[in-house]
């Protein structure tokens, strides 16, 4: 995909050569997995450039979400800020705290609208990650939730009904026990960094918990009964019920094992749906994440943000482009192409989307789970605070620590990481 930036650059150089008062802006975007997506994004940008004359967008493919954050920060420090960046939705808070991104409120005001009216069409679950301290800082663009994937063939072999996947933790453990054989694990979780944190948020939410304070970046709820239940479940799946691989299994390794029929059920992102559909030989099904207390999942995904250091014209141009990218039509098309769900509700009322849903019943399950979704955890030092928990749960997975001790240590380390922020905010008293 190395040619993409140069192709995009060529488009940008050629297109505006004739127009006089055109504003040139950069758009940085990551593609987590697939090269196909980068080509589609370049096509979208070209469509936008061809559709009007005031703004010329250069789309720059910038690697993973992490690389994109690095490159956008480096470009901003060098005085060449990208106007629009597609950023991991849970980096928004940290970037705002670091002063790297700008508030979108002035643009809303200039448009004669309000945050509430602008966000009205977006799913409630995606909104908190776009708002920091009451101001809009991001526009949701592509989103996902975790799903339960299961192998229907294995269900039949084990005498389970392939149309009745487990709905509760008890049913999950029961099914996993029946599915586990000498060379096959009944259940698996993606446990590498990043995914592990998301999975613990999934389990603690299914257990009635919240993981973090949605309204304040200085609190996480690691040492709580809901998280203890989640951590204990993970420990028991490995050591008591013996239905899950001991040690850490990365997301890529887990999906490979699932495709190879070595794991019968797994939790994985809706973002992997098309990958599994294209590569799975045996029939598979998807279902809601099983609950203990309630059905609840976190969202994941990416949002559009605007970096500091832009001229007024570039800001206006970037905002125009961001609005176009997050329009009902663009979001609907992008969702059908990628398998992410659209953060807007309106695309699902269109005829194309209704037809798509009948052809892809799995996508329908993901959509039905959305009303049960909540925001993705984001705190001061999101990554380090997440790793504070992940390191401990990974120790549990390896039998090096017991769940109750692990969550206590995780809470202690996370609190230490967030202390500077807490001292500057909630504990700065008159």
């Amino acid at each position: 995909m190395r040619w993409l930036p140069s192709l995009a650059a060529a488009v940008a150089v050629l297109a505006p050569a004739f127009a006089g008062a055109q504003t040139k802006i950069d758009f940085f975007f990551p593609v987590p997995v697939d090269g196909k997506l980068a080509r589609e994004m370049a096509r979208l940008t070209k469509t936008y450039n061809d559709s009007q004359k005031e703004v010329a967008v250069t789309a720059v493919y910038t690697g993973s979400y992490d690389d994109t954050k690095l490159k956008a920060q480096a470009a901003a420090n060098a005085g060449k800020s990208p106007a629009v960046v597609l950023m991991s939705a849970n980096f928004v808070l940290d970037l705002k705290i670091a002063g790297d991104i700008v508030s979108l409120e002035p643009m809303l005001k200039a448009d004669g609208t309000t945050r509430a009216r602008f966000l009205e069409d977006f799913w409630p679950a995606v909104q908190p990650n776009a708002v920091v301290d009451g101001d809009l800082y991001a526009v949701p663009f592509q989103n996902s939730t975790p799903l339960l994937y299961y192998n229907k063939e294995h269900f039949k072999e084990a005498g389970l009904d392939p149309e009745k996947p487990p709905r509760t933790w008890a049913e999950l453990v029961d099914a996993a026990k029946k599915l586990t054989k000498a060379d096959r694990m009944g259940f698996g979780l993606p446990e590498g960094y990043d995914y592990m944190g998301w999975m613990m948020q999934t389990l603690t939410m299914s257990n009635g918990g919240r993981y973090f304070n949605e309204d304040y970046g200085g609190e996480v709820y690691y040492d709580t009964p809901s998280m203890l239940g989640a951590a204990q479940l993970v420990e028991d799946l490995v050591f008591k019920h013996k239905v899950m691989q001991q040690g850490v299994v990365e997301g890529g390794a887990l999906s490979t094992n699932f495709l190879a029929g070595k794991v019968s059920m797994m939790l994985l992102s809706t973002g992997s749906l098309s990958f599994v559909r294209e590569n799975m030989k045996q029939p598979f099904g998807v279902a809601f994440v099983p609950r203990n207390v309630r059905n609840a999942v976190p969202i994941g995904g990416g949002s559009l943000v605007m970096f500091k250091g832009l001229s007024e014209e570039q800001k206006q141009a970037g905002w125009k482009f961001a609005k176009w990218l997050s329009s009902t039509e663009t979001l609907g098309g992008w969702s059908r192409f990628t398998g992410y769900f659209s953060p807007r509700k309106s695309p699902y009322d269109t005829a194309e989307m209704k037809e798509f849903m009948t052809r892809n019943p799995e996508a329908k399950v993901a959509l039905d789970q959305l009303p049960h979704a909540g925001p993705w955890f984001a705190t001061y030092q999101t990554v380090a605070v997440r790793k504070a928990l992940e390191d401990e749960i990974q120790a549990v997975l390896n039998g090096k620590k017991k769940a109750p001790q692990a969550i206590k240590d995780a809470q202690k380390n996370a609190d230490a990481l967030m202390k500077p922020y807490v001292d500057l905010t909630a504990l700065r008293l008159p």
Binding site: E191, G192, K262, V383, Q394, N398
Partner: protein, 313 residues
Amino acid sequence: MTTIAAHASSPAALGQRRRPLRTRLARRTWPFLLLAPSLLMLAAFTYWPIVRVAWESLHDKPHGTRESLFVGLGNYSALFADKAFTQSVVNNLVYAAGTVPASMALALLFALALQRSTRFNAVVRALLLFPSMVPLVAAASLFFFIFLPGVGLLDHYLAKLGLRGANWLGDPDIALWSLIGITIWKNAGYYMLFYLAGLQTLPGDVLEAATIDGANGWQRLRHVIVPLLAPTTAFVLVIALINVLTQVDHVIVLTKGGPSNSTKLVLYYIFEQAHENFAAGKAAAASLLSVSFLLALSVVSLKTMERGAHAAS
């Protein structure tokens, strides 16, 4: 080297007394003018960044504040108070102890076995060199599939032998050793090249004399070949130690420092502090420490290499 320089400079020194000041100045500045392009590049891309890192290591801008404050050695004390840093140093030491002697011993063994230039040996040499030509990122991506728990190549063949594989990258007691394995596989062939070159330069008469004196193969190796190869060994050792500190591609691709920090090497720790944790000051302090270590290493090794070279000749 020094004698040549002395000879070359003596006529110039004679001439200086007679020539006018302008010419003398020109003579002094001329070499610097010639060196200017590379000096400029070195200054811009090596010396200035080092100065910047040193400066940054004494300052801190806590995430969430806007001003960079002078904190003296605060970043350094924060570094040593950070358990993740001390663990990354320990990991790096284990990694060095695991990779350097093993890959060097293998390299010497390969070189000894393949020192004669036959067609068969040429093929085997190429095969052994192959891993070092694969970029580390690509090699790590390949090993992802080899190390896959359950379905990976390694577990597949172990299963044929009736053995059960481990969770190669997911067990904190094993993961670092899996990375050590990749590194040895990758570097042994490369170090072999140096030993092959070193073996070509060994004086034949010394070996012959040893043979005539009745030394057996092991004795020749232990008392003649290995000591004569000392300069090569010193050189390879430096390269290997630098690799230990500067290569983390496989960590990034395979483990991201996990599980539970067990594969976090110092350079990855620096990356994490700088780019994930908004802690540029701590990253700068750790960078300066590892650069100083590399600098000290090069100075010491260059000295010993010179001495080794003299002793060998």
